[in-house]
């Protein structure tokens, strides 16, 4: 790196990249600023945005929740799934049906969706015990393919229509938002926006805490080396099936939110294309990082949105391609090009850049295990490297 910038006096710390001891006050300042900025943006949007922008952000949250779910399974546990659209669809159908036909409270339908998705995910985890990589991908692919057929049968036989209505979730009175009158559209959008933000936050916190726990270490251990994990006493069957179940359950919350947002949906609403979107969003943001799926989902969603309204019509293209804007094609090309440049996604890319300026160094070693040292888990003095 830039050796010229190094200070001449031997032993003095290098100017750049600047070391920041882990969990030192400065490190905390950075963390708090980061959280505050994100919270401020979220609140600003909630207070000022138009219904259509709010709707877009909510839609991006749905994509982000699904990507967070997939990240738990694929990023941390190493099991691929192209079938996550099915979990999203299952929870959406469960919500739409129970609310419209059984007059369930919409929040109970969320619980139902989570439970159903967990069970289906757990069941899908069973073949995953024997299959890996492309074989597991094929099984989940089959599930994603079968879902529209099942959904269609369900619509024909139970709903007796070719679509299912959304849950029309309206804001409870304590929020101060109204569900009737001229502000209803905006207020409903605000409410769904906050539902999206909160569910995304919950999904993030669940995955984060799981990742940092003993169970989370075992997930990654299983991904990195199954044999070694097993000889350490990690139960492979349990770990893999439960991870599949939890991931599916989280994806289910995305489906419930879709059902709350959409006016109507049908058997073609949750197809394998959605699954591919989750995968692209995850890899764009950075798999196996906590923030990657969220960053990736937002980047993907708004890039997609931008391209749809701004992509050119290239009439010189052959056949079908020349008929519409080539947004999807450009989007795919951009994602592939980006992942080629930054294999660890946006988050990996930003981390790499940040490392040129700041390096988080490990906490200083604990001097000795004297009782006083045990009282203070975090000695403040930083070790000069």
């Amino acid at each position: 790196m830039t050796t010229t910038m190094q200070s001449t006096s031997a032993g003095a710390p290098k100017a750049w990249p600047r070391p920041i001891p882990d969990s030192s006050p400065l490190h905390w300042v950075f963390r708090v600023i980061g959280v505050a900025v994100i919270a401020a943006i979220a609140i600003y949007i909630g207070l000022n945005a138009t219904p259509s922008t709010l709707g877009n952000v909510t839609e991006a949250c749905i994509l982000a929740i699904a990507a967070v779910a997939l990240n738990l399974l694929l990023g941390f546990n190493g099991q691929i799934s192209i079938g996550h659209s099915t979990f999203v669809g299952l929870a959406a159908f469960a919500a739409g049906y129970t609310v419209n036909f059984w007059h369930w409270n919409a929040y109970w339908s969320l619980v139902l969706g989570i439970v159903l998705c967990f069970l289906l995910g757990f069941a899908l985890g069973l073949p995953a015990l024997r299959l890996k990589g492309p074989y597991l991908a094929l099984v989940t692919l089959a599930v994603a393919f079968v879902w529209p057929t099942v959904a269609k049968k369900f619509l024909e036989q139970k709903v007796k229509k070719n679509s299912l209505k959304g849950t029309h979730l309206s804001p409870p009175t304590w929020t101060g938002l109204v569900s009737k009158g001229k502000d209803a559209r905006l207020d409903k959008a605000i409410f769904l926006y906050w539902c999206g933000i909160i569910l995304l936050l919950v999904a993030y916190v669940v995955v984060r805490n799981l990742r940092k726990s003993r169970i989370g270490r075992s997930l990654v251990a299983v991904r990195d080396n199954e044999t070694a994990a097993a000889v350490m006493g990690v139960n492979l069957k349990f770990t893999k099936t439960i991870t599949f179940g939890i991931s599916a359950a989280i994806a289910g919350t995305a489906g419930w939110l879709s059902a709350a947002r959409l006016d109507v949906f049908n058997d073609t609403s949750f197809t394998i294309l959605n699954s591919i979107k989750y995968l692209l969003a995850l890899f764009l943001g950075g798999a196996a990082t906590l923030l990657g799926p969220i960053v990736g989902a937002f980047a993907y969603f708004f890039l997609d949105d931008y391209l749809r309204s701004h992509a050119p019509h290239w009439t010189w293209l052959p056949g079908q391609l020349s008929k519409g804007p080539i947004a999807s094609f450009l989007l795919g090309a951009i994602v592939i090009a980006f992942v080629f440049i930054a294999p660890f996604g946006l988050v990996g890319f930003v981390k790499d850049q940040a490392r040129r300026v700041f390096i988080v160094t490990p906490r200083p070693l604990r001097p000795a295990l004297t009782p006083s040292a045990l009282d203070d888990e975090r000695p403040e003095e930083s070790k000069g490297e």
Partner: protein, 236 residues
Amino acid sequence: MSVLLEVTDLVAGYGAVQVLRGLDLSVNEGEVSVILGANGAGKTTTMRAISGMIQRNGAVRFGGEDITHTSPNDIVKLGIAQVPQGRGTFTDLSVSDNMRAGAYVRKGGAAQADLDEWYEIFPRLQERRDQKAGSLSGGEQQMLAIARAMMSRPKLLLCDEPSLGLAPIITQELFAILGRLNAERGLSILVVEQNANLAVKIAHSVFVLETGSIVASGTAEDIAKDDSVRKAYLGY
């Protein structure tokens, strides 16, 4: 000396493929046993059968208890830890998380004091505790594999070809540490090796494994005197 691990007439394999054909071996409490065997003799299979990772028949007794039908998870809890062949590093976990993963079966997980204890023995691991374990050198990864296995506080440590792919000087260091763990802590160890001068030096008993059964066994001195064994496995 009481027998800690006693394996009698062990038969095991993979599906229809039978690899171990009635194998007998034992490890005494506080001693080091070494299994010598060529490539494909069934050393790794033996380790897997002892730790319950594959279907087995015969009898495996540990500390007087029959563990032939015990699950791998419970076997670790009883006090058998394994350093798998090829080290089994969790490459994307940090060094300290690798070690914590080693204490997976312990209630309450790993205490910082345990980590510190092993950092003292392996200072290199302490220096690199927040790095991804995949970025360590081969020798460091082998040390990590041992420290990680020890985090479950085992009575018996199984080491599957720990010298594989390591420079001779690192191998020496490694066996010095295994010898110390045995001498200072009374840890019982079962090591398998192909090329085994160093292993035999710290061994109390040696077993020679050929195509799934033990063809010779004895004290380290006895085995070193056996001409054919010496030629085949000790290389002089």
